[in-house]
Structures are given as structure tokens and as C-alpha cells.
């Protein structure tokens, strides 16, 4: 038992989550957006660990594991796409990808 209460853990997770969100919303570089998304995933993972730690169950860690898997797969695919986009558009600017609208 440690003295870290669940609120503290969850609040930290929320703070990281929100920071990641700011990154996603504010950055225009696609790579930075992907990185900020990783922060969000990580924050969610933290929340699971905190919860699992509260209940003393392994489920929280397993969920974290799954998140890890997802992050890996998503980063793989995402970066592949980023590469293609850079080849085609010669830019990583998310805002210039607005060929479809209306």
C-alpha cells in the first residue's frame, strides 16, 4: 500500500490527457500530432494502471498492454501514411490537407 490516492493518479492522467489533446489541437505538423496522440494513449494507460492498482487486479495492466499494442500498430500505419503524404504533398502541414470540404 502506498499513500497515493486514486484521485491523484487519475488527475495526473487527466492532466497528461489534456496536454496531449492540446498538442493534437494546436500542432500542425502531422508527426507532432501523432506524438501528441501517443501522450493521450499513455495517459489513458496510466488511468488503467491507477485503477488496476486500486483494485489490485491484473486487468488494468492488461488493458495497458492492449493500449500498447494499439499504439504500436497505429504508429506504424500512421507513420506510413505520413510518409506517403509527404511524398505526394511535400508537406507535413495538417491544415493544407483540406482538399475535401463542404
Amino acid at each position: 500500500m502506498s499513500e497515493i490516492s486514486i484521485e491523484q493518479g487519475l488527475l495526473l492522467s487527466a492532466a497528461l490527457f489534456v496536454l496531449g489533446l492540446i498538442g493534437v489541437l494546436a500542432r500542425r505538423n502531422l508527426i507532432m500530432i501523432l506524438m501528441a496522440m501517443e501522450v493521450m494513449f499513455n495517459a489513458a494507460g496510466l488511468a488503467f494502471i491507477v485503477a488496476g492498482s486500486r483494485w489490485g487486479q491484473a486487468d488494468g495492466q492488461i488493458m495497458f498492454l492492449l493500449i500498447l499494442t494499439l499504439a504500436a500498430a497505429e504508429v506504424g500505419v500512421g507513420l506510413g501514411l505520413v510518409l506517403q503524404i509527404f511524398r505526394r504533398f511535400h508537406t507535413l502541414d495538417a491544415d493544407s490537407l483540406n482538399g475535401m470540404r463542404g
Binding site: 502531422l30 496522440m37 494499439l70 475535401m100
Partner: protein
């Protein structure tokens, strides 16, 4: 894991196995036809497995999945849709440059994810199924690498889906943090053990809803929809519109029924707002749209709104009864949407995607059958009798009226009025006079067969739905009890 559970999972195993088989096939001999054929055989095998599993249901295969009639029905639906999409994909991609062999594989993994969603009774399987579906979709959307729009659509979908997944995960974490359960039954027990609404679980569900709302493209999480539909290859757009949304909806319904979340009435208020917004907003956005794929995207937003209305009615009538309208409507929506995107895909050529409305001018006189099929599909989307869409809408009406959702019904009516306008616009354009260059039938025999089958289903179920109604009824009453 005993043998019964293993057998019950046969449909899913078949899908996964086929995916690997396709991969091995590619390694051995890169051939698009071969890949498609293996995938098709795999789906058919999986469907056959469904039939053999059916009598032994329900089977709880570990806490993660429950193979019951409900799941089997929807898996069958999803697989059939997948099969149809595969057929359209075959015709769509067979003349295109590039290595298209991975496409069936990704389609299979996506279907696997969707099927897992349909059967899952646990947040872990829910999450992993959803992501399996999503990851496959990212690639499928951006599959034609030489098309700028496809890439744009893929990256948009990837980022937005990632963010929404993060919200979803946060929601699950909150629920878990409070209840200590990831298993739906466990959550039900937790909810049942408390008299009041637990704020944290409730908020967690709200966050999960936000994540699912994105997948269902409900307003205000809908903005990605038109762009992705437009950019993605036409059959894949159909796939997103049906399989991806359908699977998520199936899961949503199961979650709500099995955890008794209908007890959280504020949730229903949130849903009502989302439903009304989706119906009105979706139809409004489609109103003067000149791009057929975007138009269908907006219309799918509205249709999800209609579906949600029936879903919300579960709050006031026995939730078992609500499964039936949802099932029928989903089926109608599947047939119609796949058909509509199928037409678009048949008309598209490697040179040009047939999504501009101008392309459809005079289609009635150029390719009468195709135009007639498209007209029927559009009429079905509009909910006009003689088509399955009408029976679906009738179900929604019945369900919602049973639940006393008069305000939402009014929104449905207003939305339908708006909807008529843009569906009719397409029909009008198709029936306009144009210089009648008689283009010969293309060699897309597979697509033509599929479209014909879909049309027959559409009309048959529109005129004589009893057979299907009986099946669905058995699903509703046995499965969710």
C-alpha cells in the same frame, strides 16, 4: 477454454485463419483474383460455421465474448455485407495499378474486428475489436496510394479515430476505476448494487459514448464522415458506412441492455440530443450537396440518428423489444447503403471516381437498369414503400411511438422531408435528358450480380418482410434474455 467454447468461436477463427491464409497466398503467388477468392471462401466458411454454431448457443467463450443468437445474427449480417463489399472491391480494383492483394486481407481483419464487437461482452474485447476494425480501415481508406484524396481521407480518419479512441479509453478507465469491472455483467452487478447513479461511472459511459459517437458519426462527432467517404474507394465507403457503424451499434445496444445502462436516464437525454442533431443536421448538410459520396455520407449521419431514436426508445419500453426495430433497420440500411455505394463503385473507373452529380445526368437513359437500381436504393433510403427502407422506418416509428418519443419522431419526420429533397434531386438528375451515348455494359458481372441480389432483397423484404421479421423476432427474444 474448453472445446465447446472453441467450437463456438469457429466463425471468428475461420476469419482469422483466412486472413493468414491470404497472407501466405500473397507470399506464394501475388494474384488479386486468388486473394479475393481465398477471402471469399473464408467468409463463406465462416458463414457456414455460423450455421453450425447456431444450435449450441449461447456459449460464453471466456468473459470476453458471448456467442449467442444475437451475436451470430449480426456476425452473419456483417459477414454478408463484407462479402458483398469484397465483390464490389474485386471489380473496383481489378483494373487498377498497384499491389491490390493485401486488400482482401485487410477486409478480413476488419470483418474479424467487427465480428468481435458483435460478440464482445467485455471492455477488452470491445476495445481490441474496435481497434482491429479501425486499423484495417485506415489502410483500406488510403489503399489507392496514387490518389491524393484517399491519402487525405486516411490520415484524417487515423488522427480523428485515434483521438476518439483515447476518449473512449479514458471513459473505460473511469468506469473501471470506479467499479473495478471490465466485464459487462460485472458492471451490471455494480449498477444494480447501487441505488443512485454513480457520477464517475456515468461520466465514463459518457466518454465511451463520445468515442462510439465518433464511429457512428453522430453529430457533433460527425465532421470526418463526408471527407472520409469521399476520399475512400467507393466500396470501402460502403464498408465504413455499414460494417463499421453496424458493429459499433450492435455493441452499443448489447452494452446498454446487458449492463442495464438504460437505468441512467440522463444518458438518454444526451442520446436524444445527439439523435435529433444528427437527423436534422445530417439531412441539412446533404441538402444541396453535389457530390454523391458526400451526400450518402451525410445521409448516413441522418440514418444513424433514426436508428438512435429506436435505440432510445429502449429506455421506456422493454429493451428486448427494442432489439427488433434496430435489427431490422440495420439490415435495411445495410442492403440499401451497400447497394448505393455499389452503384457508385460500378460507375467508377480507374480514371474517374463517379461521385460528381453531373456524372449521373441522364443515367436513366444510358444505363437504365443501373439507374433503376440506384433509384430503388435511394427510395429505400428515403423510406418509401415497396422498399425495405420503408419497413425499417415503420419499425422505427412503431418503436419510438411505443416509447412515446414524440419530439424525436417529429425530428424524424422533418428530417425525412429534407431527405426526400436530396434523394429526389439525384433521381431527377438521372432522369434528365442527356445526349444518349449508349455505353456498353462493362464487364463487372460480379457487381451486377451483387446489385441484382441486393435489389431483389430490397424489394422482396419491402413487400413481404414476414420471413425476416420472424427470424429477427427469434433473435430478439432468445438472445438478450
Amino acid at each position: 477454454m474448453n472445446i465447446n467454447q472453441f467450437i463456438a468461436l469457429a466463425p471468428l477463427t475461420a476469419l482469422a485463419g483466412t486472413a493468414i491464409a491470404v497472407m501466405i497466398g500473397i507470399a506464394a503467388w501475388r494474384n488479386f483474383v486468388l486473394s479475393c477468392a481465398i477471402a471469399a471462401v473464408g467468409i463463406v466458411l465462416s458463414l457456414a460455421a455460423l450455421g453450425s454454431v447456431w444450435p449450441g448457443t449461447p456459449v460464453q467463450a471466456s468473459p470476453l465474448m458471448l456467442i449467442d443468437v444475437y451475436a451470430l445474427f449480426y456476425i452473419a449480417l456483417l459477414l454478408s455485407a463484407g462479402l458483398a463489399v469484397l465483390g464490389f472491391c474485386y471489380d473496383y480494383f481489378k483494373d487498377r495499378d498497384g499491389e491490390n492483394e493485401e486488400l482482401p486481407l485487410l477486409l478480413l481483419t476488419a470483418l474479424l474486428g467487427a465480428s468481435v464487437l458483435a460478440a464482445s461482452t467485455h471492455f477488452a474485447s470491445f476495445f481490441i475489436g474496435l481497434e482491429l476494425l479501425s486499423i484495417s480501415l485506415f489502410v483500406l481508406i488510403g489503399y489507392p496510394l496514387n490518389q491524393a484524396q484517399a491519402l487525405e481521407a486516411a490520415i484524417k480518419y487515423l488522427i480523428l479515430s485515434g483521438v476518439s479512441s483515447a476518449f473512449l479509453l479514458m471513459g473505460i478507465a473511469l468506469i473501471y476505476a470506479q467499479s473495478g469491472e471490465l466485464y459487462f455483467r460485472g458492471i451490471e452487478g455494480y449498477i444494480a448494487s447501487r441505488d443512485d447513479i454513480n457520477a464517475m461511472v456515468f461520466s465514463g459511459v459518457l466518454l465511451v459514448m463520445a468515442g462510439l459517437g465518433f464511429k457512428l458519426s453522430l453529430i457533433p462527432f460527425h465532421l470526418w464522415t463526408p471527407d472520409v467517404y469521399q476520399g475512400a474507394p467507393a466500396p470501402i465507403s460502403g464498408f465504413i458506412a455499414t460494417v463499421s457503424k453496424g458493429a459499433v451499434f450492435v455493441l452499443l445496444l448489447r452494452y446498454f441492455v446487458s449492463t442495464d445502462s438504460y437505468a441512467y436516464t440522463p444518458l438518454l437525454n444526451v442520446f436524444s440530443v445527439m439523435a435529433a442533431l444528427s437527423i436534422l443536421g445530417g439531412n441539412l448538410l446533404a441538402l444541396l450537396q453535389n457530390n454523391v459520396k458526400r451526400l450518402l455520407a451525410y445521409s448516413s449521419i441522418a440514418h444513424m440518428g433514426y436508428l438512435l431514436v429506436a435505440f432510445i426508445a429502449g429506455g421506456s419500453v422493454s429493451s428486448v423489444l427494442i432489439v427488433e426495430p434496430v435489427a431490422f433497420y440495420l439490415l435495411a440500411y445495410f442492403i440499401t447503403t451497400i447497394g448505393a455505394f455499389g452503384v457508385v463503385s460500378v460507375l467508377s473507373s480507374p480514371q474517374a471516381e463517379a461521385d460528381d452529380l453531373a456524372f449521373y445526368r441522364g443515367l436513366f437513359w444510358r444505363r437504365p437498369w443501373l439507374a433503376a437500381i440506384f433509384t430503388l436504393m435511394l427510395l429505400s433510403l428515403a423510406g418509401i414503400p415497396l422498399t425495405v427502407g420503408f419497413i425499417g422506418k415503420f419499425y422505427i416509428f412503431t418503436g419510438a411511438a411505443d416509447g412515446g418519443l414524440w419530439g424525436l419522431l417529429l425530428a424524424v419526420i422533418v428530417g425525412s422531408g429534407l431527405g426526400l429533397y436530396y434523394y429526389l434531386r439525384i433521381i431527377v438528375v438521372m432522369s434528365m435528358d442527356a445526349e444518349t451515348v449508349k455505353t456498353g455494359f462493362t464487364q463487372d458481372w460480379l457487381s451486377n450480380v451483387l446489385l441484382t441480389v441486393l435489389t431483389i432483397l430490397l424489394v422482396w423484404l419491402g413487400i413481404y418482410p414476414s420471413l425476416l421479421v420472424n427470424i429477427i423476432q427469434s433473435v430478439s427474444y432468445d438472445g438478450m434474455a
